[in-house]
Amino acid sequence: MTEEISEIKSKPVYDILQYDPKSRSNLLVSEGNGLVGLVDFLNGSESIPPSTINVMCAISNAEPLNPSSYISPDRCNKMRLFDSVNALLEDLPVTLSNSQMGLRLYICGSEIFLWRVANLARAAGMHKSEYSMQLIGSKARRVYCPHCKTTSEEVTTDIHECVGCGLSLVNCDHFSREMGAYLGFRVDAEAHGEIPERKELYR
């Protein structure tokens, strides 16, 4: 545990959504501004037969983009809008349980959203080669506290107070895909009370 954190290879690295030409059906999933990523993806992949494309969008209250204005109905088989991320995430396992091999999932949104969706896909049996992620939106982190085993949501600073035990935690780039969270640890464990100023890093 150190004050300076070296480059950590478990930190996820994101790219733009990659179309897999082998796919038989394509499910596009977004939250908020992630819609932009789906639109770019569709504009860049005009050869994909619309009958193979299904879209699920969670509309964010903060920035209410209306997906119907951006994706025309003839560009996909079905588009469904959800008024919250939770509503979308409740429906997704049902949709996946009715899906077949040959499906590819394209996910676009904040980092926390990406991994919540990816983990539902994995629970349904999908392999990482069957889904693609693009980060558009908040880089706020989920941070796991090993001391009290609570996960704090939406952490935007390098140091924060754990919602479970109140200790000041610094989070590092070591990431657990299963948890969709970064590892935190007590920032002043070696010298109690010496808590550096926090910096906002993950917006």
């Binding site: 897999d20 082998k22 796919s23 038989r24 059906s25 996946l96 349980s97 899906s99 077949q100 091999m101 040959g102 499906l103 590819r104 349904a124 049996g125 999908m126 392999h127 080669s129 069957e130």
Partner: protein, 318 residues
């Protein structure tokens, strides 16, 4: 020091279960149990015909009595290099052979939600142990097994009787062919498909899986690739300062072994990487699945179990 440990075993059962397939059971001569093994494992059987040793890999089809016995099924291949012919004609009750430790190049994908097995002919053999394991783990599985005719379908009756809901038999003599498009269609997410059988069948199944959008990570296959014959060539061993001739129908590995030079090996089919040997001189015809493109292009290593000299000579750094 040789790392190819094996045990001497004797045949305790040798049954001609179909005209082309012989089923053998072995026990160790030292009376100890064999090692437990994972579904899909193979063992290399070494047999001495008086002049040289045949070493062939065979899938384990089962074991009995808490691993006191190992069972294999051997299909007679009259066009092959003689190993199966030797087993059919010369290995019988009481014969002694060498059995290597199990090694697995075709394991079950543990987290799969469903296991879909496609077998052709003697390709059924690894699936016999798969089904044992899936039974134990209460896994969701389905088998599609193509045989020429019911008589020649090793284990066909046994499988159909035991698992009527999961086993689908396709008997070519009755004009019933497995339709891979149908089999691979409508499978739930998290299904893994495993294919084993004749080369063409495996190629067709893999191609169709690919066309139907199955990702490579969900598709697994095993082919029993035997070394293909080629031009004879000579080999110089730089460190041992000797020269060996490799005949047309023997592999480089076999030629070395017949000259009492031991090289580590496992699958003997170009897949596992164990026999990788450094090459100092000579052009290589690579036929393996293990080396990277860069390694093949560099020309400084070879998989002797399956690859050969392109020209008439190789120098190895052993």
């Amino acid at each position: 020091m040789s790392t190819n440990f094996s045990h001497t075993a004797r045949v305790i059962r040798a049954d001609q279960v179909t005209p082309l397939i012989k089923h053998f059971s072995f026990e160790r001569v030292d009376g100890k149990p064999f090692s437990p093994f994972s579904a899909g494992s193979h063992v290399v059987i070494g047999m001495n015909n008086g002049t040289n040793t045949h070493k062939n890999p065979y899938s384990l089809v089962g074991s009995s009595n808490n691993f006191m016995e190992y069972e294999i099924a051997v299909r007679l291949d009259s066009t092959g290099r003689g190993g199966s012919l030797f087993m059919h004609n010369n290995i019988e009750l009481g014969s002694e052979i060498q059995i290597g430790n199990p090694y697995n190049l075709f394991p079950v994908y543990k987290p799969a939600k469903k296991h879909l097995m496609i077998a052709g002919g003697v390709g059924i053999t690894p699936f016999m142990t798969y089904i044992d394991e899936m039974n134990l783990m209460h896994s969701n599985f389905e088998l599609h097994y193509s045989v020429r005719d019911f008589e020649n379908g090793a284990f066909a009756k046994e499988l159909q009787d035991k698992y009527p809901n999961q086993v689908n038999l396709y008997i070519q003599a009755n004009g019933v062919m497995a339709n891979f498009n149908e089999i691979l269609d409508n499978q739930p997410l998290g299904t893994h498909v495993y294919v084993c059988g004749p080369q063409q069948m495996v190629a067709d199944a893999l191609r169709i899986a690919d066309e139907m959008g199955w990702p490579n990570s969900s598709v697994h296959s095993e082919e029993f690739k035997a070394p293909e014959p080629g031009n004879p060539f000579t080999v110089t061993l730089a460190k041992s300062d000797c020269k060996i001739n490799v005949r047309s129908r023997e592999s480089l590995l076999e030629a070395l072994e017949n000259a009492n030079i031991e090289i580590p090996y496992s699958c003997r089919g170009g897949a596992c990487g164990f026999c990788k040997t450094e090459v100092i001189d000579g052009e290589i015809t690579h036929r393996d699945y293990f080396l990277t493109d860069a390694e093949k292009a560099s020309g400084n290593c070879i998989m002797p179990c399956i690859s050969r000299a392109q020209g008439d000579h190789l120098t190895l750094n052993i």
